[in-house]
Subunit: 381 residues, 2 copies
């Protein structure tokens, strides 16, 4: 506690022991399932976090923006999948990364993107590895595993000597909206089966598909088997968050990050405690609003990380102000938490909240000792 | 258009002509109302923007975090109000800024904060200017203008030679939730009258209150008169946003910032256009969801900044993906906007969206020429 007092609030805390436990859990799962892990770095955006994940079964990473690719390459990671469909304006950046030695695999899900990629790769005299992005759950992007477009795309990519078809990739994003562990398990099977079927169709017409890349934190944790998949991608599991707690995949004690805030005032008659943790710190993510337990903009813990007995949530946010009250909006003795009290807010969505900060104050033990600061790489260019 | 093609998406654009028009509008209003302007820099966080606002009637600024104070001081601005209640952990930083020559005024709304401030100022042998924060609309912080606490606080602050009471400050944040211009006008009067009454009460007992600081963009634009107020604070007016459009205080053409995104894919049967502008770029602000026209996560314009005839909004967001569809979710020819098409998304909330970026690509004219890059100061320390 004493050490947290040396920080200016709001500050992002990362509990290293919880991180390591979360990392070990997924490492055990991938061993058990017999797949490689390709951690998604979009949540942590930190080499210090990702170094704790990489090992002989997790040699490459998944990135969401090219700035992450630059950063992790500079930190010694070479093998990466850029898992967002290519915008043509980024093609020069992509080919320049590949020429610098990044083993950067891209994804395509349209003939237009495939042709633009082949043209850019040809012009730059590089060879770009590519995966066909699949849609297994009507979530967002991708081609249907059973569609004619899958094979058209495969042939189009195989035609160009400047691209190298490596297989297929999918992400069952709808697993985030499952209402039960059984539903997640079914979604995991749908993700696996769709990707494996698509790879088989490609191979059946003589196209190469050695890579079958699938994954999300929920489907990885509850899949019964992943036969045919070669690698799984997951990222949020490193930190977890209230949304994952609401999905039933972890407990409150497994959430590794929190935002340290200070009490700056009170409105006793309204039962409000005002803090300096606004949306600039927490983000405006309201993911848990669609779950059975709505956590507002975050669950309030004491400086040791324990939820307060009054069951407090962050009820509303302005840019640099947070208003805390009881979940049920009952009157409480707000003066029990005087001006200057340090509180820790558990976030709805780890990716969104962590993205509001330049880095992590790494804490260990109880009372927490601040042992390090791990910077993040935010932004796009 | 050609010049925008040189940017990697997502990118934050700032139309300099619209900015200058917005700045002139508020400058005219403050002249007409006979008050000084103290622009709030929490929206723009850029000296290049704020230099266009400062003049002989707007010599100081309002900041929301101490990092803004540091940055603007380094850029030559000395006079500033830090308009967020003090967290005790920030007191050493505050006194160090004052010792370096920042004319930094702070706000307090509790005896606890007043005492902690006086102790820190005394220990540091500095003199800290302070305003008492008022609550005129049950929005967030502050003491009621008619409360006994106002005078208690005044006497407490006057007692310490290390603090210097300058007056009162309030912000009618509830003006953002008004349903009509008349309601905003009433709120403006409530803000003015409450602050003036509080200053009078302080003066009546012999306490100094030369400063009566009020303001928000809506109340400033629609106040009938501001007699007794010495300065107004407003920030979002520099850029405007869809929330301000929904409030009726400006038009779509007055929104100065937009996020440039690329089309990266389609789901033709669902009527979806996929872009690379996710919540990491747009923020998750859903402010317009409570207004009569819900703009989703943003209104879609072409690369010239004109809303598209199909009335498209950003319907959902993932971290680096945005899904665009018609507002009424009707089928449309999504292939009309092929992969690589550049679109500009007008944001719900300028402060939140701008906060996701390191700076502004400044554009002028039609087709837009990119004439500059203006960096932002984000974060806290």
């Amino acid at each position: 506690l004493h050490e947290l007092c040396g920080l200016e609030t709001p500050a992002l805390l990362l509990d290293r022991d919880v991180l390591d436990r979360n990392v070990a859990r997924v490492r055990d799962r991938t061993r058990q399932l017999g797949v490689e892990l390709r951690p998604h770095t979009k949540t942590a955006k930190s080499i210090d976090v990702v170094r704790r994940v990489l090992d002989e079964r997790a040699r490459g990473i998944t990135v969401s923006v090219l700035k992450e690719a630059e950063y992790f390459f500079e930190q010694g990671v070479r093998d990466m999948v850029y898992a967002v469909g290519i915008a043509p304006c980024k093609l020069p950046h992509i080919v320049s990364l590949i020429r610098r030695g990044v083993e950067l695999t891209v994804v395509v899900d349209s003939m237009a993107a495939a042709r633009l990629l082949a043209e850019a790769a040809t012009a730059a005299r590089t060879k770009v590895p590519v995966l066909i992005e699949l849609d297994v759950d009507a979530h967002r992007c991708g081609v249907s595993p059973g569609s004619p477009l899958l094979l058209e795309l495969g042939h189009e990519l195989a035609r160009s000597p400047a691209v190298e078809l490596h297989g297929v990739l999918t992400h069952a994003g709808e697993s985030y909206h499952c209402r039960s562990i059984d539903a997640i398990r079914e979604m995991a099977e749908r993700e696996r089966a769709g990707a494996v079927a698509a790879a088989k169709r490609l191979r059946a017409v003589g196209l190469p598909a050695p890579v079958v890349s699938i994954g999300s934190t929920p489907t990885l944790l509850f899949a019964e088997q992943l036969a045919g998949a070669t690698e799984v991608r997951a990222g949020v599991y490193m930190f977890n968050d209230l949304f994952m707690v609401g999905l039933g995949i972890c407990g409150i004690e497994d959430v590794a990050i929190s935002v340290l805030v200070s009490v700056i005032g009170h409105q006793p008659r309204r039962g409000w405690i005002i803090t300096d943790g606004g949306w600039a710190a927490l983000s405006k993510d309201r993911g848990t609003s669609t779950q059975s337990k709505d956590q507002g903009y975050g669950l309030v813990c004491d400086a040791l990380g324990q939820p307060l007995p009054e069951d407090l949530i962050v009820a509303s946010l302005n840019q640099e102000h947070g208003i805390i009250r009881q979940r049920e909006d009952k009157p409480m003795d707000v003066m029990r938490l005087p001006v200057g009290t340090l509180l820790r807010i558990l976030p709805n969505h780890a990716c969104a909240t962590a993205g509001q900060f330049d880095g992590y104050h790494v804490v260990v033990g109880t009372p927490p000792a601040v042992v390090d600061f791990w910077p993040r790489v935010n932004g796009w260019i």
